[in-house]
Symmetry: C2
Subunit: 163 residues, 2 copies
């Protein structure tokens, strides 16, 4: 199907912010950021991107589809790992340049490193000015146990992280 | 201060994903996406961007600072509206190209349109293939009452939404 049919043309700020037509803004690369949280815990699971096709497939199937920038391909989350994300609610923000997926994750993990959430480390809080003499700021792990072993779940598949 | 001192150099995938040094990846425009949720409800409040300076100020002050792409300037959230976001926890994802702010919002609103969250509309779910004959997909409001009146809070300030 032609994605443009289901997306309205962006004509006015009022229409985009206060209207009821879906009129997403895709950036110069044709992408819109997608924020995915666990619908029960509210935990942020991942931050990724969709193109028009991925958004259309997500709406049609009720399962999260993203666009992988590293692979430059549609990415049906869980197709390899089995950790599919069922979309409970799909929301869009005021200026319609970001979507929020509230999902139920089969298997309970969303991170390719093996953790439940991609956000498994927090930045240690500073009190007052940062002590720059001690070098880079430090992270603290908030999840310590992996839900799965990436080497078993993604055999022979290159790590998508880019430096 | 020089932000680069507090950020480690990105040397290996293992260091970035499994290490304890803060080594954020800023994109070609010097920005990193920032996802902001209410630390109590887990509700997604907004999606914005930080540059190195905004991230440094956020860490130093404990209050959310972003980089406004429309104004091309540091943006201390709440400086105009009074709706400051106190950072309860600041997390970073596996490949360190996105940060998650868990915040406490004075005044309870984060959206320039006046709603509590920027994500006040959901996309109506499709069951099966989308009926393209009915035109653009429809949104449904999940918040109906504004927390404040933007005309009063931002007098004479242009709406930041771009078409």
């Amino acid at each position: 199907m032609e994605p443009s049919i289901i997306f309205a043309e962006r004509k006015t700020v009022e229409q985009v912010e206060e209207g009821v037509d879906l009129a997403p803004k895709f950036d110069a690369d044709g992408l819109i950021p997608a924020v995915t949280t666990d619908y029960q815990s509210g935990e942020l699971l991942m931050h990724a991107y969709m193109n028009a096709d991925a958004m259309t497939r997500t709406i049609e199937t009720g399962e999260a589809h993203y666009f992988s920038r590293s692979r430059q391909a549609i990415w049906h989350k869980g197709a390899t790992s089995g950790l599919v994300q069922k979309v409970v609610e799909l929301l869009i923000d005021d200026d319609q340049d970001c979507v929020w997926l509230r999902v139920d994750v089969t298997g309970g993990a969303s991170c390719h490193v093996g953790y439940r959430s991609c956000f498994y480390r927090k930045i240690k809080q500073s009190t007052g000015p940062i002590d720059t003499a001690s070098g880079p700021l430090k992270l603290e792990f908030t999840e310590t146990d992996k839900v799965f072993d990436p080497a078993e779940v993604y055999p022979g598949i290159p790590n998508p992280t880019k430096l």
